[in-house]
Structure formats: C-alpha cells, structure tokens
C-alpha cells in the first residue's frame, strides 16, 4: 500500500534534488569547512553557497544567516540571547498558541523570576492585538510570536506586530518554521530582528535549522566554543545538511507559486468536499488568514485518535490535536486557547499538504473519510443521539 502523506507540518519528504545535492558530502567530500587545505575549503565554498541560497529565500543577506541544528535550537538561542543582552529587562511576551519549542522555554522563565505574558487568540486563532499593545512595555526584553501556527495554519500579522514591538524598544523574534517556503518573506523590508526556520519542514533533512539575525542586532551565543558561524554558533558545521538546506531553499523559492495555487487549490477542495459530505464538522481557524497547505477540521461526537488509526489502515497519514494521540489528557493547547468547544476539540484532525500531494490522493481522502466518521459516530453514544435526530 502506497502511503498518502498529508502530515507535512510534522515533517516533509526530502526532495530528490536536495538529496543529490548533499550526497557527495558524506563519503567523498567530507572535509571540515574550517580546515586550511583545499579539501576542506571546497566544502566551505558550498556552505557559503547554501548561506546565499537561504538568504535569498528570506530576502536577507548571507551574514545574517546562522546555521543551527533545528528550529527548537534557533528559538532557544533567540530568547536566551535577548535576556542576556538586556539583563535589566525582566519581561517576555509570547502567545498561548506557540509551539512547545518557544512556550516551554517561556514558561520555564517564570520560575526564574521573569514576567511572562501569553497573549490570547480569538475563536479563529487570530492574535489579540490590543492585548499585545497593552502588554509591551519598557521592561520587555523580547517578544516571540509564531509566524504561522503549526496546528491550524493561522498566520499572524507579523509586520504589524514587529512595528508595535520595535516602537517599545524590545527585540522581536518569530518562529517561522511553518511559514518559510509557504508564504513569501522579505526580511529586507521587515522589522523582524530574529527568525527561526527548520530544514525538515521544507523538504530538507531533519537536524538542520537557521536563526536569522538582523545585522546590528545584539546577540549572545547559545553554544560557545569554536569560531564557526562567526562565533555565533560554535560546533563543526553539519555541512551536508547545510548544503541540502541551501538547495531546498532554492527550490522553495521556485515553488512558492505552486504552494499558493496548486497546493492551496487541493487544500480548498479537500475542505469544501469534506464539509459538504460530513455534517457537524467545522474548520478550526477557517475564517482567519491561513497557510495554503493546512486544514484543521473538527468532527463532533468522535475522537481524533480513532479517526487517525482508521485512516492509517488505509495508508493515509494525518495528525490530530486530540488528547489521546499525544498521551496528554486534554486537547491541544492551541484549540483550547481558541475556545474550540469540547464537543469537537477531541475530534480535530490536521491535514497538511505539500507540493507532492496529488489530485488522486485528495480524492481518496474525500471518498474514505466520510464513512469513517459515520462508523465512529454510530459507535459513539453522543453520535447516536445525533443520528437519531437526523
């Protein structure tokens, strides 16, 4: 059975061209980019090329790109740095719907005596801008808010936010792990100070990330040691993965239009067909501006893990914000922050597409999912009451 992979916000397939680009840098061209000899030097040249390619996708300059091991490292480095740069400032702002890579660190800071404001969202997952404006003050060291939400795909108005934050003199960081490659970003015309991205979300391998650091932004490194990355991130470069990420960013630039036309059309068709065929369903974040590839859809009276496992039997890979999937007992913090009613929070499923998703795959889901929901509703005491009413 060929899998139908609709979980691209979790991770993506490495593009064949990306893999070819990195392949020689394991067994043949394995030199250390820092070495004096040509054998290492030629790797350095490819790393430099990758840095230019990443910078080009973001509208940044190459010296603003710091390679890290993952999005989480970039997030951690950005927040820690801001606190070291402004030791007198004791306030951090984030949102209630951040990825754990940011949220866990911020919550840990409260135990170290920091004030942490978690800005709320409305029922569509849109940031409460008034709450943000009221929260930023002279004591704020850093504001860290995601570009786009991993669960719902909801996009925050990042430039508007950056302007508010910069007016108060705080640093602004955005976790753009889900956004890069899916929506155009031009940092040259932006007020963002720091931005995190992760390779494996855009068809590069796992284990490579980037922290964009605007030129002139004060910075204290998270990892210290050698002089790599201009002493901003010590440790021998993961050269093969960096080279792969460079290629992936080049391809992402070329397929940005595809993401926003072809992929978006598939997502929209999946959404409208499922809504037409399955009663008592709702789109989480449906009225907000969203990533073109993400669909978070909730089905009342049924539980998400059961849906996922039945889809899995058909080779369809998706994910869920339900409690049972993660082993936690409450539905996802994102859906709870949005106030999604319990009746459907437990039955929320995320489909995330990519440029590899085909028409036929979407057809299969449109055909297979309605009977799965009907089967589970037939089994559920709440679903049966609802079916009786029909």
């Amino acid at each position: 059975m060929k899998e139908i992979y609709l979980d691209n916000n979790a991770t993506t397939k490495v593009d064949e061209a990306v893999f070819e680009e990195m392949r020689p840098y394991f067994c043949e061209l394995y030199g250390n980019p820092s070495s004096m000899h040509f054998f290492g030097g030629q790797v350095q040249q490819k790393v430099d090329e990758a840095r230019r390619r990443v910078a080009a996708l973001l509208g940044a300059s190459p010296d603003e790109i710091i390679f890290t091991a993952c999005g989480t490292e970039s997030d951690n480095a950005a927040i820690r740095s801001a606190l070291e740069v402004f030791p007198e400032k004791r306030h951090v702002i984030t949102s209630r719907v951040e990825h754990p890579a940011v949220l866990t660190q911020c919550r840990n800071l409260t135990q170290k005596g920091y004030r942490v404001s978690e800005i709320g969202v409305d029922s569509e997952g849109r940031l409460d801008m008034e709450e943000l404006k009221a929260a930023v003050d002279d004591d704020t060291a850093i504001v860290t808010l995601m570009y786009a939400n991993n669960e719902t795909g909801v996009i925050f108005p990042i430039e508007e936010i950056a302007a508010i934050v910069k007016a108060k003199g705080a640093l602004f960081h955005t976790d753009a792990v889900q956004a890069v490659g899916k929506v155009p970003i031009n940092l040259a015309a932006s007020k963002i100070d720091m931005l995190s991205l992760s390779g494996h979300k855009l068809h590069a391998p796992k284990g490579i990330g980037v922290l964009y650091l605007r030129r002139g932004t004060p910075f204290r490194p998270f990892l210290v040691g050698g002089h790599q990355e201009k002493s901003r991130r010590a440790g021998t470069e993961n050269a093969a993965a960096i080279i792969a990420l460079g290629k992936a960013c080049e391809l992402a630039g070329q397929s940005m239009t595809i993401e926003n036309t072809q992929v978006k059309a598939l997502r929209d068709r999946l959404q409208s067909e499922l809504m037409a065929r399955i009663p008592h369903a709702r789109i989480n974040g449906g009225a907000a501006e969203r990533l073109p590839n993400t669909l978070n859809i909730a089905f009342e009276f049924v539980e998400g893990e059961a849906i996922l496992l039945l889809l899995n039997e058909l080779g369809i890979c998706a994910s869920s914000g339900s409690a049972c999937t993660s082993g936690s007992l409450e539905p996802s913090h994102v859906l709870r922050a949005m106030g999604v009613p319990f009746t459907c929070a437990h039955g929320s499923i995320r489909f995330s597409l990519s440029r590899y998703t085909t028409d036929a795959e979407i057809d299969t889901v449109i055909r297979e999912l309605p009977p799965i929901i009907a089967h589970l509703r037939q089994m559920s005491p709440f679903g049966r009451e609802f079916l009786k009413e029909q």
């Binding site: 059961a306 496992l309 039945l310 049972c324 559920s380 709440f382």
Partner: protein, 291 residues
C-alpha cells in the same frame, strides 16, 4: 504512535457488541464529551435475573477505549452479576494483551461502567452527572470529595484505583484515572492519597528503637526501614533511593530518579536519618553519595 497489541487493534477495528439493548436490565454510563471519552454499557440478564446473557456498548473515545469496551462486553457474557463485579480493570487490560500505561484509564472506564450498571440495577442511588467533566461515580453509594476538578474525580475512586493497581506515583495515577492530567493542581493531593493508601496497606504497630543491637541485626533493620518506611514516600514524589553501604553508624545512600540532583535532597537525607534514629539506633548518620 501507540504500541497497541494485536488484540487491541483487532477489537478496535472489529469491535464486538456495538449497539444498544432496548429492554436492557442494567445500563451504566460514565464519562462525557468534555472528558474525551465516554462509555454506555447495556446488560441483559436471564430470566432468573442473575446471569448476563447479552451485553452491548457505545463508546466515544480513542482506539483503546473502544477496544476496552469491546473486550468488556465479551468478558461479562455468561457471568453472574457477582462474577462480573469481580472483573478488575487489570483483567480487561490482560484480556487485550496489555495496554500502554498512558491508556490504562480506558480499562478503568470499562470497569467503572460495569460497576455503575450493576449498582443501578441493584437499586443503589447513582448520582447523575451534574458536571460537564464528571467522571467516575465508581462507588455510587459513597459520596467522596472531588479531588481533580478538571475531570471530576473523587478521592474515594482514586483510592480504590491506587489500591487495586498498586500505584506509587502521581504520574501513574494520571495514566490510570486522568486525575491530575489537566491543570495539575490536584497532584499534591494525589500524592497524599497514595501515601494514605500505602499507610493502610501496612498497618503500623507502634515501633520502638530496640535497646541493644548486634551489628548484623542493625544492618538488617536499616534495610527494613528503608524499604518499608522511606522508599514508598519517595516513590510518591517520583523519586527513589538506594542503600550503598553501612559502616558502623554511617549509612550511605544514593538518591535516584526525581530525587537525584533534587535541590532538597539534603533535606530528604535528614528525614531519612531521623527515621533511622527513631527506629534503629540513635547514633546513625546518613550520608548522601552520588554513586
């Protein structure tokens, strides 16, 4: 991905006895939409009103909740009501070839629904769900006080599950009952309940320090006190300790799990020392080693 046994998968994909029994003798309902799982169990008795001749269920929940319900209906058929009441949540889990610990609450839900159905049939008062999150009127006749407000779980119910499943940490209690899995505010109370249950299991005759001890006897007593009195307390906090050496009055211990590197391990050493002084010998000195 959960590591479900083939039996769990089989009962999830092909659940037995889904549906309802319009003229059921006993019906038990637990859980709610808010909780994330719910089970409605129907039982039909024979003409003597003693033996269960049919059972059906409806479940809202994850794969293991559906599989546990399916297993339960298969297990109770042909049993008398008293035999059915003897089914524990471990029996349900065993029938399925085991459940991941995080999913044990699914087997508890099955056992609970069975208990509620039979209690109601026998004319006991079962409190209706008056709370969105209500879960588990497992002891219908005993009121109990709500411990976990997020999931509406009472102390009476928790103590029963702690006792029958021999749970020693708050985390386990969460896996088995969900209590403590929401805001986490009740975790200290859950730890107290664990300690209470453990205390009950070891009825304490007042113990006194003996007058004189041989070295051998003393070493033996130190070990006993650590096993009986100290380690269960540490387990309740997710910690543990190991006896490394006894050299005259010097007792060397190493803290493990949550206790290892814990900032208050110095305090814990003093508590251990006091207990050993009270029960074994006055001159005992406890030293923490990091081996």
């Amino acid at each position: 991905m959960w590591d479900y046994t083939p039996t769990v998968k089989e009962h999830f994909l092909n659940p037995r006895n889904v549906g309802d029994i319009p003229d059921a003798d006993a019906v038990g309902e637990v859980g709610s939409l808010a909780c994330g799982d719910a089970l409605k169990l129907y039982l039909k008795l024979d003409d003597n009103k003693d033996k269960i001749v049919d059972a059906k269920f409806q479940t809202f929940g994850c794969a293991s909740a559906i599989a546990s319900s399916s297993a339960l209906t298969e297990m109770v058929k042909g049993k008398t009501l008293d035999e059915a009441l003897a089914i524990s949540n471990q029996d349900i889990a065993e029938f399925l070839g085991g459940l991941p610990e995080e999913k044990m609450h699914c087997s508890v839900m099955g056992q609970e629904a069975l208990e509620v159905a039979i209690a109601k049939y026998r004319g006991h008062e079962v409190k209706p769900h008056d709370h969105d999150h209500d879960h588990g009127p497992a002891y219908p006749d005993q009121e109990g006080t709500i411990v976990c407000k997020c999931f509406g779980i009472t102390d009476v119910f928790l103590k029963k599950v702690i006792e029958t499943n021999k749970l020693t940490t708050a985390e386990q209690v969460t896996h088995f009952t969900k209590a403590g899995g929401g805001c986490g505010g009740c975790i200290p109370r859950i730890k107290e309940l664990i300690a209470e249950v453990m205390g009950n299991q070891q009825p304490e005759e007042p113990r006194k320090r003996p007058e004189k001890l041989s070295n051998m006897k003393k070493m033996q007593m130190i070990q006993e006190v650590l096993e009986r009195d100290i380690r269960p307390l540490l387990w309740a906090d997710g910690g543990d300790l190991e006896l490394i050496d006894i050299d005259g009055p010097k007792v060397q211990v190493a803290f493990r799990k949550a206790c290892a590197g814990c900032a208050s391990s110095g305090y814990t050493s003093r508590v251990v020392e006091q207990k050993l002084r009270d029960l074994v010998a006055e001159d005992i000195v406890v030293e923490e080693v990091t081996a």
